[in-house]
């Protein structure tokens, strides 16, 4: 059977186009974003060793917090913050949402990847400190106009405490380095 070189070329072009879309689409997507990818390393935590169930709960609580943070700052809604943030972290994020509402701005935290180290777990298990190397695409919108769009790495020092049914973020402070 004679090979059809024109058809093969078309298939190859299609494959390249699809691969390019798959590769670059996440960088420019503004619609539904995937859940944050969070990796938690507890190998260096002290003075108390972290129990497996607690580790899972901290990981789930932190991932949920970032989902809620992104949702609140994209939709300029305070409601998503209530379940995951308390204390200073909650008040600071609420101030940000209210300020965004006032100035007609919104923020998108897209394609989040968090590499998190647990660095301190209190002797009585009532406080954990995390160091998060967060990588995400930050978009700032003024109405419908994008005024900033950048893939960035931000380092956060995070304090979490156990809440009624999950671990919640009490302090979240970005720092130049750990």
């Amino acid at each position: 059977m004679k090979p059809r070189s024109g058809e093969s070329t078309r298939h190859l072009v299609k494959a390249i186009v699809l691969a390019a879309i798959a590769l670059f689409a996440p960088l420019y997507s503004v619609g539904v974003d995937a859940s944050p990818q969070v990796e938690l390393d507890t190998s260096r935590v002290g003075p108390r060793a972290i129990e497996t169930l607690t580790e899972r709960s901290v990981l789930a609580g932190y991932r949920f917090a970032w989902e809620n943070l992104a949702s609140a700052l994209q939709s300029n809604s305070l409601a998503p913050l209530n379940g995951s943030f308390v204390g200073t972290a909650n008040s600071s994020l609420k101030e940000r949402v209210i300020a965004q509402q006032r100035s007609g701005l919104s923020s998108r935290y897209l394609n989040q990847i968090h590499k998190v180290d647990a660095v301190f777990y209190a002797p009585e298990g009532d406080l954990i400190e995390l160091h998060d190397r967060a990588e995400y695409t930050l978009q700032i919108l003024d109405g419908d106009k994008t005024v900033h769009n950048e893939r960035i790495v931000v380092r956060y020092v995070v304090l979490m405490t156990p809440g009624a049914d999950r671990w919640v973020v009490r302090q979240m402070q970005s720092v130049p380095h750990f």
């Binding site: 101030e95 940000r96 300020a99 301190f120 009585e124 005024v147 304090l159």
Partner: protein, 286 residues
């Protein structure tokens, strides 16, 4: 046609006059929480300035070539801030705001009640915060002091690591209030740990026949350091009468636990409190 092109160019030129001409943002590279700062700009014309940071999202019309003042209340939260200026194009840069000096301490001390004479039973964790509730992450010396009645105060100095100072210590030998204090410069926080008697030591019982059965009671119950075991602590009396065993749980009242047991035949009575066993007494038949 040429008139249309010329008209369009004129519109662009007029519009351009109201936008910034080139220009860039300079400073601050860093700032301190609650302190004003300014951003200098070059170029000319109108532009829109944005400041995005922890607790803030600000939009302001500015003139390029003039300084942009950031008020102290706009920089109260420590962390990374993004400044953006948009004219014909948008430019951005980041800067960090550092916490101020410590103004308060979050102080966690456990447990609220601790038995005396236990190793590493008391833990204290201190986190310094500035007046805007930013976590102070620079290494800071925290002085911990433990004070109990009729005992010389004990001090520990610990430098914070990643914003946290902590220590663990033994409980003292005497029951009573233990004050645990953490201080950084003129900022301090205090907590009280109630040191209570440990498990009973040398639990000793005595008994006698009565008309109704056997009356048993302990000697005054103390721990091994001589502290009276608190009232309400349960002492369990057990009576073995041949094949039958009966138990009575009795709380200590005024230092002594008492029970009335019903047994007519020969009986062996023992007592226990927590993990501590007392002596046995044997009573003959009635």
């Amino acid at each position: 046609m040429w008139s249309k092109v010329a008209g369009t160019l004129a519109v662009f030129c007029l519009a351009g006059a109201s936008f910034a001409q080139g220009g860039e943002l300079r400073g601050p590279a860093s700032a301190i929480a609650g302190h004003p700062a300014s951003i200098s700009t070059t170029g000319s014309g109108a532009a829109t300035f944005y400041l995005i940071g922890p607790g803030i999202a600000l939009k302001r019309e500015v003139k390029m070539g003039k300084d942009i003042a950031l008020a102290s209340q706009e920089l109260q939260n420590a962390g990374e801030y993004l400044r953006i200026v948009c004219a014909d194009t948008c430019q951005s840069a980041e800067f960090f705001v550092s916490p101020e000096k410590p103004a308060s301490l979050a102080f966690l001390v456990h447990p609220s009640r601790a038995p005396v004479g236990e190793n590493d039973v008391i833990s204290a964790v201190a986190l310094p915060f500035d007046r805007f509730e930013n976590m102070v992450l620079a290494p800071t010396e925290v002085d911990f002091q433990l004070t109990a009645k009729s005992v010389a105060p004990v001090s520990h100095r610990v430098t914070t690591q990643d914003g946290i100072a902590w220590f663990r210590t033994n409980s003292g030998r005497s029951a009573g209030a233990l004050q645990v204090e953490a201080s950084v410069d003129d900022v301090s926080a205090r907590r009280i740990v109630q040191q209570v008697a440990s498990n009973p030591c040398n639990l000793h019982i005595k008994g006698q026949r009565t008309a109704k059965g056997i009356s048993v009671e302990t000697d005054p119950v103390h721990d091994c350091a001589g502290n009276p075991v608190p009232d309400g602590t349960i002492v369990t009396f057990t009576a073995k009468d041949g094949q039958e065993t009966s138990t009575v749980d009795s709380p200590i009242k005024r230092g002594v636990a008492r029970a009335e047991l019903t047994a007519s035949g020969p009986v062996v009575i023992s007592a226990a409190s927590g993990v501590v066993m007392g002596n046995e007494i044997r009573m003959g038949a009635q």
